[in-house]
Symmetry: C2
Subunit: 304 residues, 2 copies
């Protein structure tokens, strides 16, 4: 894992390589116990959807949170990869014509363009299912109580009351723009839930008590809000080449964002405030939390 | 649970009522711990997709297998409902235009017709995720080791190497009809995996050793083959009103089935042989296994 004085981008890139190597192994074609065969085209589409040059921010948060609390690095990497499978499923399904209808993701054709619509649905379904497989498998070297806690928290972060529910609110927002409270709820579910889980997962892996879980989860909450604000600013100001996907789509669809509602100046100030708040939450952990503190700054300042 | 001398259809109907009442409670709108809100339209679409008059054969198998091995009834009902959520997700996604493109399921408009395409994708995603939530939740009153075993087996039965993989093979079969071995593999993954899981889950719930898990799983394997054979015969001989969905679709798509390959006479004889084989597997359990024995006969003889 990362030494506290390593520049953030260097740490993130190094971690991304580890994540991709592990994801690649996990998405190997050989069936595991209890499986019969892994159809080639489906495994390929899952590979394509998951190994797409992502920043691997969520696994980074899992691993750095685990490191902070003294959790095992290899286990945190596996859990980070499970979370990345789940995140990838959400992108594959979100890009579908019936949803956001995006042809490009990080400058490459989306899964339903590179393969076909049906394969993209199944690849998403399989990545979602595989996230739970990875966590529950005996190779995730944790007490059963920790594995079951991770499964439950991930299911709640991803399901009706979390990410998928947020996505449903997002669809509704195209027809009836939500007010400020509605936007905050939507974003807290759609984007925030997985970031909160990523941070809390590290504390679960390390077997820490509820207070640590709650504190690091609240850090996840704050950086989730920063993440979404930065995203909304980028959607407004960036171009498709920098962003690697179509820009200005939210505005074109009339989707309410806090930036649209309260202005760019407010958003810039709020971003700075959120980074400060995130740093305050980490203060009791001192210098050991430096990588997470840098992650908060990176999230607010990222350009794509 | 069922007394050994109750007629099978009566037992199945009684169990279906219990399953629907429990599913309805589980799909209540109130958010659980770790959830923020449950969007109304999404919960409704999940309800619509899961509470659709299904026979609840899979929960029946979970519950009767648990009863046979002395597992707790209430726990088996919860796990059966989790499995039914997962089964329902597969139907919602299979019915989508990009997949089987079905407008009717059990005589009612499918989810993407009753709601919309995007909501159907999300309702399926959410039902799949919720299956793992239900099993991992503390209300599933089992040791952590049993809950994690159920999560792992379900993920493997449902994912790349199980049901979703079988669905991918099914898509490929439309372009290049598989040979006999290919059809058996496809069906063992697409239909068989969840039925094997249903039977094994009862033994896991009851905390039984590997030998019992393997024996009841092999019963699931055999009835899975009978189920598929009966399904293929029905697709060939039934009409849409009896079936509650479009009939003759597999044949029209040129999908290979064992019935098409080896003839209806062979299929009738094979069905009888499979029921006998299923009964032989249950023989060591004596009269206590009567409900499962009846289930095998019902699966082979069902008319829709």
């Amino acid at each position: 894992m990362t030494r506290p004085d390593t520049p953030f981008e260097t740490s993130l890139l190094a971690l991304a390589e580890q994540v991709e190597a592990t994801l690649s192994e996990l998405l190997d074609a050989r069936p595991r116990d209890g499986e019969i065969a892994r159809p080639g085209r489906l495994i390929e589409a899952m590979h394509y959807g998951a190994l797409n040059g992502g920043k691997r921010l969520r696994p980074f948060l899992v691993m750095e949170s685990a490191r902070l609390f003294g959790g095992d690095e290899k286990t945190a990497l596996r859990v980070g990869c499970a979370l990345e499978c789940l995140h990838s499923y959400s992108l594959v399904h979100d890009d579908l014509p019936a949803m956001d209808d995006d042809d490009l993701r990080r400058g490459k054709p989306t899964v339903h363009i590179a393969y076909d619509y049906a394969t993209a649905i199944l690849a998403g379904d399989s990545l979602l299912t595989y996230a739970f497989d990875i966590i529950a498998a005996p190779e995730t070297d944790l007490p059963d109580s920790a594995r079951i806690a991770l499964v439950l928290e991930l299911a709640r972060a991803a399901g009706i009351g979390g990410m998928a529910g947020g996505q449903a609110l997002d669809l509704a927002a195209e027809k009836a723009p939500p007010d400020e409270a509605g936007i905050i709820l939507l974003q807290s579910m759609k984007t925030g839930a997985l970031l909160r889980f990523a941070c809390e997962a590290g504390a679960i892996i390390a077997g820490r008590p509820v207070e640590d879980r709650a504190r690091i989860r609240s850090f996840g909450e704050v950086i989730g809000r920063a993440f979404q604000l930065a995203d909304d600013l980028l959607d407004l100001t960036s171009d498709a080449i920098t962003l690697g996907k179509a820009a200005g789509k939210d505005a074109a669809k009339g989707k309410g964002t806090l930036v649209a509602l309260k202005g760019r100046d407010w958003a810039e100030v709020e971003l700075t405030r959120l980074v400060d708040e995130a740093h305050e939450i980490l203060a009791p952990y001192g210098r050991a939390a430096e990588p997470l503190a840098k992650a908060a700054r990176f999230i607010a300042q990222r350009k794509n």
